[in-house]
Subunit: 220 residues, 2 copies
């Protein structure tokens, strides 16, 4: 058993895990970070998330919360006062949840297809990936953050993908900044925050991980 | 413009739409129901949900809320007092959200594959569909409802599929009750509630719709 009240089962390149690292940092919650080996999952992970067997899992006082968006809302509900991530207005909350859900439905899978596929499939993935980012950029508009003046829920959900951008661009041979300059500007603004900076791995490290992964999967 | 404050863009056989019908009925909210033709979507639907172009859309005071689980939480947050669907404890809320998310990730797609595919693919879908229902039955346990003694969030999310059970069973030639008797018992308990009874179409009507759909899709 951990001596800390909060434990995070995570895997360093996971954009889903990064969200929770950011939220916990934003709220100043002390926790134990436990790195998982996804090719040899720990008994604790399998016990904590028997349904999906996936990281991240947030364990609070021994009770596991699975699925990153749900764990993010749990963190928000247990520690609502410091650095609130969701607005109080129900319509603004629904809007934040809508875009977080959109990011979940689109970016991970499309991003993966920009580096794990070739030819026509890769070209289609790049186009759809950029279209999704452009839609997100339009939603951001001229606001500093997705929710307005303060870093919030959608920012925490989206910014982890920034650590994968170099991988997508290098493997897919395209430029995100050329199509979405404002989104890159937003990403750099987010990275000025200590909570974000310390939660995201360097882009080159993610790229190195993906090259290894491609070897392992026989994609090189 | 509608004269009512709440408008629901829906399509009668949609399990996603039924959730909102149930929640609005539970909370006693008067609304205008607008049936959509999914093969000829209305300008109002396309304007209200430009990203996914899907029903249901809940429009409240002219503002659209899309994606059924998000709209369900919106209804809960705007009208929290009558028939609360989510518990107040953050861990119990996370658990309800987890199972609602599980239902969304599994049942619609698997259910569709029990009637839209054949042979090995259909057999695999039937097995996975029943495995998912068994997992849900285990989560229900001996409680009257998923959240405990009162009808709540997970019940509202899952019960709409009951109106599709006859279709799955007849097209797939299998029995849900044989494998999940407690879940059927739960479903019948839910159907005793006026809010549920009036929100779900008869199973035979859904089956007739699916037979027509199979013709349209060239699956007969």
């Amino acid at each position: 058993m951990s001596e800390k009240e909060v434990v995070l089962l995570d895997f360093w390149p996971s954009p889903f895990g990064m969200r929770l690292r950011i939220a916990l940092a934003e709220k100043g919650i002390d926790y134990e970070y436990k790195e998982e080996d996804l090719w040899n999952k720990s008994p604790l992970l399998l016990k904590s998330n028997p349904v999906h067997k996936k990281i991240p899992v947030l364990i609070h006082k021994g009770k596991p919360v699975c699925e990153s968006l749900i764990a993010l809302q749990y963190v928000e509900e247990v520690w609502p006062h410091k650095s609130p991530l969701l607005p109080s207005d129900p319509y603004a909350r629904a809007r934040a949840r809508f875009w977080a859900d959109y990011i979940d439905k689109k970016l991970y899978d499309l991003g993966r297809r920009t580096w794990a596929t070739k030819g026509e499939e890769q070209e289609a993935a790049k186009k759809e990936f950029l279209d999704s980012l452009k839609l997100l950029e339009a939603e951001l508009g001229d606001k500093p953050y997705f929710g307005g003046d303060k870093f919030g829920f959608v920012d925490a959900v989206l910014i982890p993908y920034y650590s994968w951008f170099y991988t997508y661009e290098t493997c897919g041979n395209f430029s995100i900044e050329a199509d979405c300059p404002k989104l890159i500007f937003w990403a750099k603004r987010c990275l000025e925050k200590e909570s974000v900076k310390k939660s995201l791995p360097p882009q080159e490290k993610v790229y190195g991980f993906v090259l290894e992964l491609k070897k392992r999967l026989g994609l090189l």
